[in-house]
């Protein structure tokens, strides 16, 4: 026989030292080190008992016995649920109108939703303070003419900010859900004599259950785990993540046990919410795929006007804080007071201080984005192309990281890497790794969906022609996925650059990032500087998305 260069004896080594087994092993090591171990450690710490009160559940007993602690959990649940319900009630009709009706300003609506979606949440909240706070622009103006406004601080303010900040999750999910419904389904319902309203409630809404619940879950988790907004606008209304943050910065190095206990509770709620949503959406999944998606329809003038007014008002409200930030960055500021005097002072003042946080932010974001692209593509490949027990396990672990909130990951990484053999606390590496692991599930999911669209035969052809698995991956798979990988890179970048929760607990003075810098300026009431920094951050977040939507032809629903 010719052609066969050599015969290989089947032994353990050759089966286990191939390209993909090695990559799989490396992926496991990374996930265990950065996700599994930190989570195990905080669970372990939370069960380690207290000095004066041994017993594995001692910390939890303390939590549920003392109102100071358990009230934060109740508060968190209240504001997150309220924001979730409001976001669904506002977001679903908006998505319906924007998809089905010929409303005015569709382009603007799309851009506004994206902009709202990617702007850091804490920027929204302090912007509302600028406008409606105690000495806010609108409050002051209205007070002069004798109209008192309800307070923006506390629970109502948090719910307002969360709702407006996070309803895009629902909007984007439902828009893409509507696009997967075939026009013929609606036509059939109309043909059978249903009015528009009854078609919506009897046909469309049931089909949208998976999309709505997915959007609602994202709103709930984002609201439940957010730190910036409650700190800025919550005042005495204390929520769970803020308590964690407080415990952590106060007791750093001293008693991370309580912080771990709180983090486990936070994780339990987000994981529970995720599982409930999966189960619920699974029961209501209909596997629709549209050959001819729902069409936009001409509406009579009054209906068109009302629908447009509703949608524009909603996205206008959501966009207001961002516009406000950009404008106020060019206004003279005196602490929290803004004066109507155009100036570049805020930016000029920044020149001295911005270099470090800006460089750090760009560096960490870029590093994490590259890691995500490389590891995410490889892991996605293993899950799709090399299914098996290991691939399934990898899939499970990656998807679990969806449920791990930034602050929980931050706490976990600190308790894991603040003592020998590996000390990473305070380094740039720990921030980069945290960013990486936070976004990894998104990169994996996007790699999985693009690989599922790529016929396996193309890669098999390469193998068949004598190219090994590694060469095939680099010469065939990666070039064919180049555009999709680039889209993933832009999305990762936009989402990573504004990270706050994990960054707050992981950063040290020298590794400060833009988002932390803004947060600090806001807390210190330097609104002018904060606005200028905020404007820069919004720009850095938005620019990659412009490329994504303009030049790579992606739709907004790529964001969720």
């Amino acid at each position: 026989m010719t052609g066969l260069a050599y015969t290989v004896t089947p032994n353990w080594l050759s089966r286990h030292l191939g390209f993909w087994p090695v990559v799989t092993a490396l992926a496991f090591v990374a996930l265990v080190a950065l996700l599994v171990l930190p989570v195990i450690n905080i669970v372990g710490l939370s069960l380690s008992g207290k000095d004066d009160q041994p017993g594995v559940l001692a910390n939890y007993i303390t939590f549920f016995a003392e109102r100071f602690y358990y009230q934060t959990l109740i508060n968190s649940l209240i504001v997150s649920s309220a924001a979730t319900i409001l976001a669904v009630l506002l977001g679903v009709p908006a998505a319906y109108f924007a998809t089905i009706y010929n409303i005015w300003g569709r382009g603007f609506v799309r851009a506004a939703v994206v902009l709202t979606f990617v702007s850091p949440p804490f920027i929204g909240s302090y912007s509302w303070v600028i406008l409606f706070g105690r000495s806010g622009l609108v409050t002051a103006t209205l007070a002069e003419i004798g109209i008192p406004l309800p307070s923006i601080y506390g629970a109502p303010g948090i719910v307002l900010v969360f709702t407006l900040q996070f309803f895009p999750f629902v909007f984007l999910m439902v828009s893409s859900g509507l696009k997967s419904i075939d026009q013929s389904i609606e036509d059939a319902a109309r043909n059978l004599g249903s009015s528009e309203l009854s078609v919506f409630f009897t046909v469309l809404l049931p089909l949208l259950v998976p999309s709505i619940s997915a959007g609602a879950l994202l709103v709930f988790v984002a609201a439940f785990t957010d730190i910036g907004t409650p700190i800025i606008i919550g005042e005495r209304f204390r929520v769970l993540p803020v308590l964690i943050y407080g415990e952590f910065v106060n007791e750093f190095g001293g008693r991370p046990v309580l912080a771990s206990t709180l983090a486990v509770l936070l994780l339990a709620v987000t994981t529970g919410a995720l599982l409930v949503q999966r189960w619920y959406a699974g029961r209501h999944a209909h596997g629709t795929a549209a050959i001819r998606p729902l069409m936009q329809r001409e509406q009579p003038p009054l209906k068109r006007l009302l629908a447009s007014a509703y949608v524009l008002l909603l996205v206008g409200m959501a966009l207001l804080p961002i516009i406000n930030i950009v404008i106020s960055s060019f206004l003279k500021a005196n602490g929290p007071l803004l004066l109507f005097e155009p100036t570049l002072d805020n930016y000029i003042r920044l020149l001295r201080t911005v270099a470090v946080p800006l460089t750090n932010t760009l560096l960490y974001t870029t590093a994490a984005t590259v890691l995500c692209a490389v590891v995410g593509t490889a892991v996605g490949y293993i899950i799709v192309r090399r299914p098996g027990r290991l691939g399934g396990l990898l899939d499970g672990v990656v998807m679990f990281s969806y449920a791990v909130p930034g602050i929980v990951l931050g706490v976990g990484l600190i308790v894991t890497y603040n003592e020998p053999p590996l000390i990473l606390t305070g380094t740039a590496a720990i921030l980069i790794l945290a960013f990486f692991i936070r976004r990894l599930p998104f990169s994996v999911r996007s790699a999985v969906s693009m690989l599922q669209q790529l016929s396996r035969d193309t890669e098999d052809a390469s193998i068949n022609l004598g190219a090994g698995p590694g060469r095939t991956f680099l010469r065939i798979t990666v070039p064919l996925l180049a555009m999709a990988i680039l889209s993933g890179v832009l999305l990762t970048w936009s989402n990573t650059i504004r990270e706050l929760s994990a960054t707050l607990v992981l950063q040290s003075g020298s590794t400060i990032t833009l988002s932390v810098e803004i947060f600090t300026e806001v807390v210190n009431a330097n609104f002018g500087t904060a606005s200028a920094l905020g404007t820069i951050l919004i720009l850095l977040t938005f620019l990659p998305l412009v490329v994504l939507f303009r030049f790579l032809g992606k739709q907004e629903d790529a964001l969720v």
Binding site: M1, S14, S455, A461, N464, G466, A467
Partner: protein, 360 residues
């Protein structure tokens, strides 16, 4: 070009509950054009992919020449595979596609150029060398992937329904071309198709598969004229099956069968079924001769005539709810008995086949 024989020994493949390939034994001679023929889902692709090394078999072994290759990974097997959906590399030019396997083998640039050039000429693709796949027609793409598979001088050429995505005219043209090319370079070829005409026309030998098993292996003529199982008889050509009762011995060492419509058919004793067990006789539609009805002979009523051009088919009712078809060509197709008329039937010299009756 050098190539090798292939032996598939008791190979099975199970996916959970499904047995996709069931104890298949095949032996392909060096230089032979061997076809796996069967309807969709019978396990052809699975078997081919096992030979290529894309998945391990559950049982059995594969030999190239005398060497068992089960432990050789797919990229070292030196097989050239042509996929149903082309699997052309869309980001590479025609030349780069063809050179891909040579580059993977680390050949010198000069040799790669020379071999690719020869291949382009052989496939009449010279003028397309620097095109991208999306600028090629389906037939041209298929020639590129064929060139890509052949240029590496594989031990075995594997083709999985390479023509099924092409229109009829291109398919007929290319199957002749592939056959001629295979003869010319003498490469051992394992070819997969569900198209019996393609299989009979191209192959040296054919294996008919069903439900993961090989039903029969033989030359196209053997498969067509001497189907060994009811499945093969039904799958190949247009076949009538009639319930039959064995009457006893006929002359010349034959057994006599009684069929609906009063027919008596003689079958060589060697092929006859056991006396007393229910049986079916089978024969091709084009072996049925339709003539004037006779008093004592085999008769039927014409229920429908279907015009197909060169062939005309008569639907015949032999007994209440027992039907057969006759395919008439030439002069016989010119003068047709009208529907409702009674006709007399007989068979061409080829004797019918006997199969045990299908269990109800």
């Amino acid at each position: 070009m050098t190539s090798t024989s292939v032996r598939i020994e008791a190979v099975s493949k199970r996916f959970g509950e499904v047995t996709a390939v069931d104890r298949v034994d095949l032996s392909v001679a060096k230089g032979e054009f061997f076809t796996l023929l069967g309807s969709s889902g019978c396990g052809k692709t699975t078997l081919l992919r096992i030979v290529a090394g894309f998945m391990p078999q559950s049982d059995g072994r594969i030999l190239f020449g005398d060497a068992c290759i089960d432990a050789v990974p797919a990229h070292r097997r030196n097989t050239g595979m042509v996929f149903q959906n082309y699997a052309i590399f869309p980001h590479l030019t025609v030349v780069e596609n063809i050179a891909y396997g040579l580059r993977a083998r680390g050949l010198a640039a000069g040799e790669i150029n020379e071999r690719v050039g020869r291949m382009l000429a052989m496939m009449r693709l010279e003028h397309l060398g620097h095109r991208r796949p999306r600028e090629l027609s389906g037939g041209q793409q298929q020639r590129v992937v064929l060139a890509r598979a052949i240029v590496i001088e594989p031990d075995v050429l594997l083709m999985d329904e390479p023509l099924s995505n092409l229109d009829t005219e291109m398919r007929v043209h290319l199957r002749g071309e592939i056959r001629a090319l295979q003869r010319q370079i003498g490469i051992t070829t394992l070819y997969v198709t569900h198209d019996q005409e393609e299989a009979l026309m191209m192959s040296d030998r054919v294996a008919v598969m069903s439900g993961g098993r090989v039903e029969q292996v033989g030359t196209p003529a053997e498969i067509f004229h001497r189907p060994r199982t009811r499945f093969v008889a039904a799958f190949i050509g247009e076949t009538n099956f009639l319930p039959a009762t064995r009457l006893g011995a006929g002359g010349n060492d034959t057994a006599l069968y009684d069929v609906p419509g009063g027919g008596r058919l003689a079958v060589p004793s060697g092929q006859a079924s056991a006396a007393g067990s229910p049986a079916e006789v089978a024969f091709r539609s084009h072996d049925l001769i339709v003539g004037p009805a006779t008093e004592s002979g085999w008769t039927a009523t014409v229920t429908d005539t279907q015009f197909y051009g060169a062939t005309v088919r008569l639907v015949l009712e032999l007994a209440p709810n027992v039907f057969a078809q006759a395919a008439l060509t030439g002069a016989a197709a010119q003068t047709l008995p009208p529907p409702g008329s009674r006709v007399g039937l007989s068979l061409h010299s080829q004797s019918p086949w006997i199969f045990p009756a299908k269990p109800q």
